[in-house]
Amino acid sequence: MANERLHLKDVHKAFGDVPVLKGINLSVKEGEMVCLIGSSGSGKSTLLRCINLLEPIDNGQIIFKGEDISEPGFDPQPVRQKIGIVFQSYNLFPHMTALANVMLAPRRVLHEPRDQLLAQATALFEKFGLADRMNHYPDQLSGGQQQRVAIVRALAMNPQIMLFDEVTSALDPELIEEVLDVLRQLRRQGMTMILATHEIGFAREAADTVCMLDEGIIIEQASPEKLFTNPSEPRTRQFLSSVLKQ
């Protein structure tokens, strides 16, 4: 287990009286790409937000690189720098240019020379085909471009794991592919990633592991070949057929 990056043990989370996560167990290895699938309200987004410590969990453990980061009183700020998250609705800062969006957190947090940070940010923009969009404001960018900037923003903190929360769901179909390309690129680089996604085709093609969530529980966890061609759970089968029908 030396290369285990993240380990969730029996994670529980409820909003008021409504349980959302009812005992999640999951291990993510370095460089692994895990896809979370399941219908809306199955708990995928909540799980990602819990890992990023945006939501405190009620019970269980989140172990990141051997350390329990879910302990009460644990300072979430340093950990969040190492765990990047990208949201469905991009959440870019509308009053800043794309470059300023990307530079803000590194400049305030990383304590590295400005020139060096700027070079790194510029390199990221170039790498993901956004070099000519650096000085644009979010409302001057297409949805796909905004989402790519959001990814660059998270990557600029040099995270050790990236969480993607339905990052293509808000996009027009013709813009989805450019974002998925970025994800493929990250995968080739060996980034450790957890994706909540409805893109079954992409999960099938790129994921190492696919987890089927249903009512706050991972009911099936397998390789994509196994899960998509021969799921063992009837509810997985039901979900897949409903998704594929669309």
Binding site: V79, Q81, F87, L104, R108, V109, A154
Partner: protein, 273 residues
């Protein structure tokens, strides 16, 4: 298709012209009614002599303008203090951790009290009361403590405006900041506040207009600003025309400011939709 849209354009244009004509006509009717009918009222001559005496207006206007400089000075030095205090109170109200409860409670109490108490009472209480505790000159000046009273009152209002602005920024923006590892103060400073401030500009413009008028209340504790100067003239001349002169000067400032605030508001609505 082209024909139809051309017809539409023509129709729109016609409607617009029609609207303008109706507006102009009805304005004219109202104006004529005012100009013709009001002077026919039996008491008009007396009212005109008391409120609209041209000679008095001309002779008192320069001294009113000079007194208005006092208003402007008080306004200008109160403004930065209101901005800073209002922001601090708004931030204090936004504190969510239990350790900050006393601060938050203090801020809530402050805004409740100073928004609830009539401005004039605050001005008397602070303008006379605090110097009455035994401050030496010049630190007991009514200019200082009257301004403090205005600052305390208006900061309470501005704090509420800012707080509404801060709360209008979607939680996802804060989350985005937090998720990048920014501290909550950095998140507030770089992400929430810049957006919130922009959003409350129109509301604060209205605050400025109100403040500009309330500066005149300082005359109750001594300073001879425009409204008091007008009052002096009124008292000596037994005529209200100097107040009309003061009103003209006020309107010359507040109408453009109000129009500008409306313009900003309309612009904001356009941008959001």
């Amino acid at each position: 298709m082209i024909n139809r849209s051309a017809a539409r354009v023509a129709y729109d244009k016609q409607q617009k012209t029609k609207g303008a004509v109706i507006a102009a006509l009805s304005s004219l009717v109202v104006l004529i009614a005012l100009v013709v009918l009001v002077p026919r009222a039996p008491g008009w001559e007396k009212v005109q002599a008391s409120f609209f005496d041209g000679e008095i207006l001309v002779s008192t206007f320069p001294s009113l303008l000079k007194a208005f400089l006092v208003d402007i000075a008080i306004f200008l030095w109160s403004l930065p203090a209101i901005a800073i205090l209002g922001l601090l109170v708004a931030l204090a109200r936004d504190q969510k951790s239990p350790a900050m409860f006393p601060l938050r409670a203090l801020a809530i109490g402050y805004t409740d009290i100073f928004r609830g108490v009539p401005v004039i009472l605050t001005i008397f209480l602070i303008g006379f009361g605090i110097p009455g505790l035994g401050l030496p000159r010049p630190w007991n000046s009514p200019y200082i403590w009257g301004s403090v009273a205005l600052v305390l009152t208006y900061s309470a209002y501005v704090a509420e405006v800012l707080r509404s602005g801060i709360e209008s920024i979607h939680e996802s923006q804060r989350n985005a900041g937090k998720s990048l590892g920014l501290s909550s103060s950095d998140t507030m400073r770089f992400i929430v506040l810049p957006q919130a401030l922009r959003r409350v500009v129109p509301a604060n413009m209205n605050m400025l207009v109100a403040l500009q008028k309330d500066v005149a209340l300082l005359s109750f504790i001594g300073p001879v600003e425009i409204l008091r100067q007008a009052g002096v003239h009124k008292s000596l001349l037994a005529n209200f025309t100097p107040y009309v002169g003061a009103a003209i000067i006020f309107l010359a400032v507040t109408i453009p400011a109000t129009r500008y605030a409306d313009y900003l508001l309309a612009k904001q609505h356009r941008e959001r939709s």
